[in-house]
Symmetry: D2
Subunit: 348 residues, 4 copies
C-alpha cells in the first residue's frame, strides 16, 4: 500500500452494481478510483444516489477522465459493445459487467439479445471472467499486446456454472434442470411496478419462463468443459422476497451411475485450492455468503432417484457481479486475487 496505485473508472456508478464496485474498490489496497460516471448526473455527490457511500465524498460525472488503467462497465446490453472498441484502443483494460462480450458466437447476440454485435472480432479476444475456470486466459490477457476485455459473468450464470463445472468436466451431465431463486436486486434499480415492496413481499413467482438469456452463457461454458455441446438446459429463475442472494438447485440426470464418494472427489479436486469457493457438507443458505465474494456449493448423490443434486449460493451483487469483476481485475493486473475482497460475510 502507498505504492503505485492502479487508476480505475466506473461507468454506471449509480446503479446497484456500480455501488458495489465503489464499496469494494474504495477499500482496495492497490486501486485509486479516478472517476465515476453515470448518464445525466454531472457533478452530483455520490451520496445522492448511494446514501450509504456519502462518507466517501466522491462525485459522479457524465464522463470518465482520461489516462485510466482500467474501466469497469455497468451498462445496458448493447451499449458496452458500442463503447468498448474505443476504450481498448487507448490501451485501457475493460471489465464489462454486462453480457456484450460473454458469448463467443456473434450469432448468439441477435438470438438472445436482439442486437447485431458491432465488434465480432473482439468477441474472440475477450475472456469470460470466471477466474475459477479461466484464470490462465486472464493472466495471458495481461501479457498480450491486444485489447484486454474481461467479460464478467452474470449472477445466474456464475452460480449455475460453478455448481455444475466438476460434473461437466467429468462428462456426467445427462440432462439438467437448473431451478434458481434470486433476490430482487438482480433486477436492477429502475423503478418498476412489479418490483415494488408491496408486490414482492410475501410472494414468490417464476419469470423468464421459456428461456432466460443467461442460458446462453451457461450452455456455452458447460459445453466447453464437456468438450461437446450439452443438451439444452432447462433453466427457470424465480423472484423471492429478499434483496440479495441467488440459490441455484441443479438437478442432474447423470450419464451413468455415480456415488457420493466420486462426487466429493470431483468437487474437492476442482475447488480445494480456490479461495472463493467452499464445498460444504450441508445445503447452504444464501445468508452464509451475504456481502462477501464467496461461492458455496453442496453436491449430493441420491441413491433413491439415481440423480445428482448440486446446490450453489452466492451474493448476486458480489460474486455474482462486482466482486467477481474485482477478482478478475486482480488476476489481470497481477495482484493477489483476494485483494479488496477479504470481507467476511455479514450475518444475521
Amino acid at each position: 500500500m502507498g505504492s503505485v496505485q492502479i487508476r480505475v473508472g466506473i461507468v454506471g456508478a449509480t446503479g446497484y452494481g456500480g455501488g458495489e464496485l465503489i464499496r469494494l474498490l474504495e477499500r482496495h489496497p492497490a486501486v485509486e478510483i479516478a472517476g465515476l460516471a453515470a448518464r445525466g448526473r454531472d457533478d452530483e455527490p455520490i451520496g445522492r444516489s448511494h446514501p450509504h457511500l456519502a462518507s466517501t465524498a466522491r462525485r459522479v460525472a457524465a464522463e470518465l477522465p482520461d489516462g485510466l488503467d482500467a474501466v469497469f462497465l455497468g451498462l445496458p446490453h448493447g451499449a458496452a459493445a458500442a463503447a468498448v472498441p474505443q476504450i481498448v484502443e487507448r490501451g485501457t483494460a475493460v471489465i464489462d459487467l454486462g453480457p456484450d462480450f460473454r458469448l463467443r458466437n456473434a450469432a448468439d447476440y441477435p438470438r438472445w439479445y436482439r442486437f447485431d454485435h458491432p465488434a465480432p472480432d473482439l468477441l474472440t479476444q475477450a475472456v469470460y471472467g470466471l477466474p475459477e475456470l479461466h484464470r490462465e486466459q486472464l493472466a495471458g490477457l495481461a501479457r498480450s499486446a491486444g485489447p484486454r476485455i474481461v467479460a464478467s459473468p452474470g449472477c445466474y450464470s456464475t452460480t449455475s456454472i460453478l455448481a455444475l463445472a466438476p460434473l461437466a468436466r467429468a462428462g456426467l451431465i445427462g440432462d439438467v434442470v437448473v431451478d434458481a431463486k434470486s433476490g430482487v436486486s438482480g433486477a436492477g434499480r429502475e423503478a418498476k411496478a412489479e418490483m415494488m415492496f408491496s408486490e414482492v413481499n410475501e410472494s414468490v413467482k417464476a419469470y423468464g419462463v421459456g428461456g432466460h438469456r443467461h442460458v446462453a452463457e451457461i450452455e456455452q461454458e458447460l459445453g466447453l468443459l464437456c468438450g461437446a455441446p450439452i443438451e439444452p438446459v432447462d433453466f427457470l429463475p424465480h423472484l423471492i422476497p429478499m434483496t440479495r442472494g441467488i440459490l441455484a438447485a441443479c438437478h442432474v440426470r447423470p450419464t451413468r451411475p455415480s456415488s457420493q464418494a466420486e462426487l466429493d472427489e470431483l468437487y474437492s479436486a476442482a475447488y480445494g485450492s480456490e479461495k472463493f469457493v467452499a464445498v460444504v457438507p450441508e445445503a447452504p443458505a444464501t445468508k452464509h455468503v451475504l456481502g462477501s465474494n464467496m461461492f458455496q456449493v453442496h453436491v449430493r448423490w441420491d441413491e433413491r432417484t439415481g440423480r445428482v443434486l448440486a446446490i450453489g449460493v452466492l451474493d448476486n451483487l458480489v460474486k455474482g457481479a462486482a466482486g467477481q469483476a474485482v477478482q478478475a481485475f486482480n488476476v489481470l493486473f497481477g495482484l493477489p486475487e483476494a485483494a479488496g475482497l477479504e470481507q467476511l460475510p455479514l450475518s444475521p
Copy 2:
C-alpha cells in the same frame, strides 16, 4: 343458514393449522364449533394463542366434548393413528390434517415416518382428501356405514399432485423434478432456532435434501393416475423468507413430444369446472391466492428443450391445509363444496 348446524371439534387448535380452521369454520354457514382442544391449555381463552381470533371469545379445553358430528385433527404424525380408531367407532367423522391415513400401504409408514401403523385396516378405508381427484370416493364415504376418515393432503403434495395430475393421467410423465419453495408457516409454530426471523430473513435454503416425506404421497397419487408406478420423483423443497404460500415448479421430461395446444386441452379438461382451481396463462405468484382456497396452475410446452413445465401455487395454510380440509368436509356432509371458503385472496 340458521337451519341444522353440524357440530365439529378441532384438536390441535393452538397451532397454525388449528387457527386457520377456526378462522374458516367460525364463518361457515352450516357449522357450529362445539369444541377446541389442545394439550395443556385447559380453559384458556383462544386469544392467548391466537390474538387475531380473540373476538370469537372461544376457549380451548384439554378435551373435546361428546356428541360431535366431525372432528378435525391437527396432530403430530403417529398421534392421529392412535386416536382415530376410537373416534370413528363412535360414529364421528374424522378429517385428519396429518399424514397418518394418507398412505395406502402400511409398509410405507416405517419407511417414511418411522412408526408402525397401529390400524392398517383403516388405511384402506380412508379417502385421500383431494376433492379434485377423489370427489366420488368422498361422497361414497358419506353414504357408507363404515368409518369415515378423510386423510387431508399436505401442502407440498397438493401443489405437486394438482400441478401434475393432467400429465399423469395422459401418461406423459417421463421423469419429473419438483422444485418447491415454501413460506415458513409450513414448519409449524414451535420455537426453533433456525426459524427465527433473523435466520430466515434475507436468505433461502433447500432442506430435506435426499427425500422429504411428502414424496411418498406424491408418488402414490401420481402412480394411481398413471395406472402404474412412476419413476422416483426428484423432490426438493426450499425455505424462503415469507410466511404463507407454496410454489412448486414441476419440470417434466415427457414420454413423447407434446405441444402447447395439447397441454392446454388436458388442463382445461381436468380443471375447467373446478371451483378452486384456475389454469392461468402466465406464471402465477403465491400472492395471487393468499388467504384463499384457490390453487393456480400454469403449464407450458418448451419447444427449445422439449420439456413440460407446470407451476402450481397455493396458500399452504388454506388449500394446503385447513381450507382443503373444509372443502373435503363439505363434500362428506353433502354441503355446497365452497361453503365457508368464499373469501377472495388478500393482496397486496
Copy 3:
C-alpha cells in the same frame, strides 16, 4: 340477501384501495357492483391489474354507468373535489376515500393540499366518515334531502383519532406526540424508486418530517372532541418493511395526573359497544388485525413519567381505507354496520 341490492360503482378501481373495495363489496350481501372505473383502462379484465381478483371476471371501464345508488371514489386529492358536485346532483351518494371533503375549513386546503377548494359549501354538508365518532351524523345524512357525501378518513388519522378520542373528550390531552409506523401499501401503487423492495426491505426511515398532511384532520377531530383547539400535534410517520398495517404510538402529557383505572373506564365507556374497536390489555401488533376491519387500542398510565401512552393498530387498507368506507356506507344505507365486514383477521 337476495332482496334489493344497492348498486354501487368504484372509481380508481385499479389502485390498492380500489382492489380492497372490490374484495369487500364483491361479498357484501346487500351490494351489487355495477361498475368499476379507472383512467385509461377501458374494458380491461380486472385480473390484469388485480390478479387476485381475476375469479370475479369483472371488467374495468373508463366511466361508470348511470343510475348508481352510491359511488366510492379513490382519486388523487383535488380530483374528487372537482367531480363530486355533479355526482351528488344526480342523487347518488358519494363515499370519498380521499381528503377532499375531510376538512371543514376551506382555508385548510390551500395550506395543506395546495389547491383552492372548488365547492366550499359542500364541505360543511359532508360528514367525516368515522362511524365511532359520527354515527348520528351519518344516519342524519341518510335522511336528509341534501347531498350525501361521506369523507372517509385516512389511515393515519383513523389510528390517531381513535387512539386519542377518549382522552380528548375527557380534556386530558396536554400535549401529544404521535409517532406512527406504516406499511408501504399506504404510499399507493405507482412505481417509485424509493418504494422498490430492495430499498424498503431491511430498513426503516421517518418521512414527512415537519408536517404530514394528515395532521390537519387529526387536529380538527381532536379539537372537536375537546371543544377547543388543541396544541399542534407533533406527528411523525415512519415507513417500515411491511406491506399492510399502521401502528400509532400516542405519547400524551396529560393536563392533570390520571390513573390506570380512570383510563380503563374512559376507553371502556367509549368503545365497549363498538363492533370494530377492541380495547386490549397488552400492546397490540398489527398482525392481530390484518385483513380485517378491526381497530385495537391499548392505553396505559405510566406512573414513573406521569404520562399516558395510547397505542392503536389497524390494517391501513381496511379500517384505514376500504373497510371503513364500507362501514360508513352501511350506516348511510341503513344496513347492519358489519355487513360485508365479518372476515376475521388473517394470521400468521
Copy 4:
C-alpha cells in the same frame, strides 16, 4: 501490521454479538484472536454456530486461554458482574458488552435488573464506553494502574444518547419522548416463539411498555451532560420486521425556543470531527449504515409545534454493540480509533 498483535478473547462467541466481534476482529490489523468461548461448546468449529464464519477455521472452547491482553464479554446480565473481578485482577482489560458496569449507582441494579451488584467498587472505576462522550476517560483508563473495564453501551442507549447529547449539553431538553424501532437481532439468538419469522413478518408492535431497562443508561448519561438529573424519559421501543438496525425518533419539548441555525451549530460542533458520526440533512434510513460502525443523526426545529426532532440510526450489532466495543478497545490500546472498522455500509 505484522508488528505486535494484541491478544484478545471473546466470551459468548456463539451469539449474534459474538459473531459480529469475530467478523470485525478477524480482520483487525492489530489483533490476534487467541480464544473463543461459549458455554457447552467445547472444541466445536465456529462454522456450526456461525456458518458465515466457517472460513476462519476457528474453534470454540469452553474456556479462554491464559495470557490475554483483553477480553470481550457477551454475557447475560449478572454473569459479567460475577466474572469480571478475577479477570481484571490478572491485568487483562475487559470490554463488557452487557449492562453490568454501565450504571454508576449500584442501587440501580436491583431496581432495573433485579440483582444486587457484587462489585460496586468497580462500578465507579469502569468507563461508559461511548468514545464520542468519554474518549478522555477511556484514554485515562489506559494509563491507569487500576482495573480496566469498559462498559460498552447498548444499542438503544447509543442511538438515543448520541441523538440527544448536543441538546442535553446546551440545556435544551425540557421533556423528551424517545420512540425507537429495532430490528429483531437485538433480542438475541435464543429460540423464542414470538421471534419466529411467521410472527414477526408483516407486523409491528411496541414492547417493554412502562419502562425498558435501557432508560436507566439514557437518563444517567443525559443527566451527566446536562449537569443535573433530567425529567424521566418517555422511552418506547418497537419491534419491526427487519433483522438489523435501530432508529430512534427523539421528540423534544425544549426549555426555550430554538432555531434550525442553532441546532445545526450545536450538532456540527459536537460531531464535526467524529469519524463515526454523520449529521445528515434529511431523515436517515437504517439501511444507510448497515454493517458499518456509522451513526447518523438528523435534527430539525419545527416552527409549527415549537419542538425539536432528533432522529438517530445505527446498526444495532455494530455501532450498537460489537463495533462500538472495538472502537473503545482501540482507544484503550492507543490504536487508531477506526482500526478494523473501516468497512463501508452494505446496501441495498
